[in-house]
Amino acid sequence: MFKNKIIKTVLILFGIGLLIAGGVGFYIFNMPHRDVQSLNSDYQLSATAIVAEYLENPDGANEKYLDAEGESKILEITGKIASITTDFKDQKVILLKGDYAKAGVTCTFTEITNNSILHLKEGEEISVKGVIRSGATFDEDLEMYENVILEKCSLLNKNQS
C-alpha cells in the first residue's frame, strides 16, 4: 500500500514537471517580438548627430548601438523630413536628413503606426522612435552614402510630452 502511494506521488510530480518543462519550452518557442513602441528609448539624438557619430567611428558606434542578438538600441531621432516613401510591405518610410548632410536616417513605420504620419509633409521637423538596424557609411561600391536604418518606428508627439 505504502509503496503504491510513493509510486503515485512520483508519477504525479513527474507529470507536473513535464507540464512545466513543456510550458516553458512552448513559451520560449512562441516568445513574442519585442514591442519597440511601448519601450523607452535608450538614446535621444538628432539625425545629424547619429550620422556624424557613425561616419567618424563606425566600429565604436556599432559597438554602442547594435546588439549581438539583434535587439539593438531603441533611438529617438529628431530631424527634418527629406522624403516620404512606401516600401514593398506598404510601410511608410521617412528620411530624416539635414539640408547639407551627407546621409540621414531612414525610419520605417509599421502597419499599425503608418496612419499616424499621413498628415506629415517634407520639410517638417519631427521626432521618431525606432530600433536601429545599421549605421551610416560611405559605400565605395554603391558610390554613395548609406543612411542609418531605423525600423518599427512610431511618431513622437513632442508637444504633448
Binding site: N62, L66, D67, F88, Q91, T106, R133, D141, M144
Partner: protein, 184 residues
C-alpha cells in the same frame, strides 16, 4: 595644410562621382529580400525591406548592400538565433554585399520597355566570407521604371554559417533560397 588639400581632393572626387551617378546609375527606390528554408520539420521565412542597390546601365554593374539585422522572422527566438555570434553574427557583420556585373549587357536595353533575361557574375559577401556567384537575373523596363527579379540557392556552409547541434541543425535547411525584388 597638406591634409586639407588631400581632403579637398577627396571631397571633389566624391562630388564628381555623385554627379556621375545621376547619368548612368540607377538607385533602388524599394527592395525586398526574402530567405526561405525548407525542412521536413518546419519552413522558415525571413523578410528584409531595407536593402539598397544600384545598377550602372553603362557598365552593367549591380550592387546590393543588405542590412542583416533588418531580417524579420515570425518567431522572436529564431531571430535572436539568426543574429547571434553562433550564426550570422550581425553585430560584427552588420551588412552583406553583392557585387556583380551583367555578363550579357548587350542583350539589355534600359531605354526600351521589355523583360530581359540576364546573367550576373560576381561576389557575394555574407558573414565576412566572400564567394563567387553566377545567377540568372531578370530585368524589366517599363518607362522610367526598372524592376530586378532573381531567386537563387545558397549553401550556408559556404559562408561558414554552421549549425552544429541542437534544434537549428535539424530545423534549418543546408541550402536556403533567396528571392530578391528591387525597383529602381
Amino acid at each position: 595644410m597638406k591634409n586639407s588639400t588631400i581632403s579637398l581632393v577627396v571631397i571633389m572626387a566624391f562630388s564628381f562621382s555623385a554627379f556621375a551617378q545621376t547619368d548612368n546609375k540607377l538607385v533602388s527606390k524599394k527592395t525586398h529580400f526574402k530567405f526561405y528554408s525548407h525542412t521536413a520539420v518546419e519552413d522558415i521565412e525571413a523578410n528584409n525591406y531595407s536593402s539598397v542597390g544600384t545598377i550602372n546601365i553603362n557598365t552593367g554593374e549591380i550592387i546590393f548592400s543588405v542590412p542583416m539585422q533588418s531580417y524579420e522572422f515570425e518567431k522572436a527566438k529564431m531571430q535572436q538565433h539568426y543574429n547571434s555570434a553562433k550564426f550570422l553574427n550581425t553585430k560584427k557583420f552588420p551588412k552583406s554585399k553583392l557585387k556583380g556585373k551583367i555578363s550579357n549587357l548587350d542583350d539589355v536595353d534600359f531605354k526600351s520597355d521589355g523583360s530581359y533575361k540576364t546573367n550576373v557574375e560576381g561576389e557575394l559577401t555574407i558573414h565576412g566570407v566572400t564567394k563567387k556567384v553566377n545567377e540568372e537575373v531578370s530585368i524589366t523596363v517599363e518607362g522610367s521604371n526598372v524592376v530586378l527579379n532573381t531567386s537563387f540557392k545558397l549553401t550556408l556552409a559556404d559562408y561558414e554559417i554552421a549549425f552544429k547541434d541542437g534544434k537549428p541543425s535539424t530545423n534549418i535547411a543546408k541550402e536556403i533560397e533567396i528571392t530578391v525584388i528591387a525597383e529602381y
